[in-house]
């Protein structure tokens, strides 16, 4: 082999290696693929070329990321910030359904960000080529850290500004715990008794509850409940005709009220006011009569004395008896 051939062979090997590397690096996919578009507000560290996995199996790659800036998409009615274009193997198209979830995750703790697909309900329709779906944004660790930082800063300033109060509080708490400890140590025997009493009370309560359970599940209660049930059933059967009758009566009353004109209403109002006056006068008369009756009952006045004094009654009776035997006394005075 000539020198030129040997050199050419070496250069060819290098070129093949370089070409193969660029081919692999470019992510050239030989199989048929289709596109899906996923909207994110924050796709994290996903870069073009990142893998797309279903169940940790690579089925495609991220083709590109487009910044849409929250503009309204008339097709979806959403305002995505970033739209990610995915190139996915055509052979799994019928396994990615409309309710599939697209979320950003990483291959390991410090690994590359990937887009993982949860395929969704197998009975749902498959996503079509060029479909636009909404992705699940990854958790914002930076925001969480920022908030945690603020919280820590607030706590630090709180502790720093209220150091004396906190020390006093801690001292008081320690004192309280110490006293509680001493109290418990001093009343050890009584506490045992209290606990025993509580245990006994619990047992009794259990017994009572068991008895109550027997009552609740007893024959009498069941019978009562059956009666109540029957009553309610009869009420329920009777309530409809009653309600219809009441409705009719109310409608009749409404009709009757509808026939009364304004003039009749004034007359009715004047009649009612006259009746009120009359009632007032009657009340006055009744009060007078009541006063007279009271007067009579108390035996005051002529009629009172005549009605209530028994002596007068006896005198009158004797007079009448005397007159019956001696009628002439009406005309003749002894």
């Amino acid at each position: 082999m000539s020198v030129e051939a040997k050199v050419g062979l070496l250069v060819l090997v290098a070129l093949l290696l370089l070409g193969g590397f660029v081919f692999v690096l470019g992510g050239v996919e030989l199989g048929d693929q289709y596109d899906l578009f996923v909207d994110f507000d924050n796709p994290g560290n996903v870069q073009p070329g990142a893998p797309v996995n279903v169940g940790s199996i690579r089925v495609g790659r991220v083709d590109s990321l487009e910044y849409r800036g929250g503009r309204l998409d008339p097709q979806t009615g959403r305002r995505p910030l970033v739209r990610v274009k995915l190139r996915i193997d055509r052979e799994i198209q019928d396994t990615i359904h409309e309710d599939a979830l697209f979320y950003v995750t990483s291959q390991s703790v410090l690994g590359e960000s990937v887009i993982a697909i949860d395929p969704g309900n197998p009975e749902g329709p498959a996503l079509e080529d060029g479909a636009v779906v909404e992705g699940v944004d990854p958790p914002r660790l930076d925001l969480a850290l920022s908030m945690a930082y603020e919280l820590l800063e607030s706590l630090t300033s709180l502790f720093r500004e209220n150091r004396e109060e906190l020390q006093s509080l801690l001292a008081s708490a320690a004192n309280l715990i110490r006293q509680a400890d001493e109290l418990l140590a001093e009343n050890d025997g009584r506490l045992d008794n209290i606990l025993a009493n509580i245990e006994r009370a619990t047992e009794q309560t259990n017994t009572v509850l068991e008895g109550a359970d027997g009552i609740v599940n007893g024959q009498q209660l069941r019978r009562t409940l059956r009666n109540v049930d029957r009553t309610l059933a009869s009420v329920s059967s009777e309530i409809d005709p009653l309600l219809s009758g009441a409705r009719e009566a109310l409608s009749g009353a409404n009709e009757a009220l509808g026939t009364i004109g304004p003039e009749q209403r004034e007359e009715i109002q004047s009649a009612i006011s006259q009746a009120a006056d009359l009632a007032e006068e009657a009340n006055g008369a009744i009060a007078d009569a009541r006063a007279i009756v009271t007067h009579i009952r108390e035996g005051r006045g002529t009629v009172g004395g005549f009605v209530m004094d028994e002596e007068i009654y006896d005198d009158v009776q004797e007079l009448l008896r005397d007159l019956k035997h001696n009628p002439w006394k009406l005309f003749w005075r002894e």
Binding site: V3, V7, A14, L17, V24, L25, A50, S108
Partner: protein, 316 residues
Amino acid sequence: MDRRDDLSSGAPRRVSVNERHAEYIEGRARLGSASLAEEGPSSDLNHARMSETSPFASDEAGFLAEFRQALKELVGVLRLGRQTLYYIMNGTREPGDIAEQMFAIGNRSMPFMVVTMAFIGAIIAYQTALQSSRLVPDLSMMGATFIKLLIRDLAASVGALPLATRVGAGIAAEIGSMVVTEQVDALRMSNADPVDYLVVPRFVASIIMGTVVLLIGGFVAFASGMFVANVAFDVNPHTFMNLSLITSGDLILGFLKCLTYGGAIALVSAQRGLSTFGGSEGVGRSTTEAVVGSCFSIIVLNLVISSIGYVVFPAL
């Protein structure tokens, strides 16, 4: 004719070895140490005199002289580069000259480079995994980082150093021997410029085959690194072969470094070879200086290109 006029006209001035020798002796004499002809006890005496006048004067003068000498050599390399480019465009070469040099630089370097880069790849992968596992027990991204590092810098820069020792020493020794045996003067007498006849084929061959050798060496380093990661740290080869961090900027940067290092090794070594004087001892000195100068130029060029690459293709 003034040298500047000579260069601006496009035809480089032909400098004989005797003239270069004279320039060298003149430069050493200006340092205040001694002329080459007077080296020996008198030189030590001069040093002693200077030390008596000022304890720091000799160091300062020595540093300035070294700096001036380095600048002169840099200018010499740049001038040689200009002449080389001129003769690439306008020169006439023997057919097969470049192919022979490509064979000598590329094919003959392959066994040495393959073994060296295999060891380098294995060592880098082992140390990377070892240090990483002490921080985070997750080596899933080790391959991606290793490949990025290899493509962006290490395959070219680390691989170019052993290449410089072999190729640079070869070029300097070959040209230096021709200079001390006055074959270069014979070329000039035959109206053949030594730059066109000796430097251009080596320069072109070094650029092409340096890139080829470093490319293949990079792949060997990657393969050995993958093997070590799998054997020593149980990293799956599929996991290791992760190209997700590689960008086109990394490839461009690595490729640019390969091309530049190949050219720098040839130019520095050829310049040292053409500056050879003093017989076989001079050839040895030129060879050593060629290797040192080539390695140094690779480090400096790495710094320059990496700095530019950091701005143009930032490593994400």
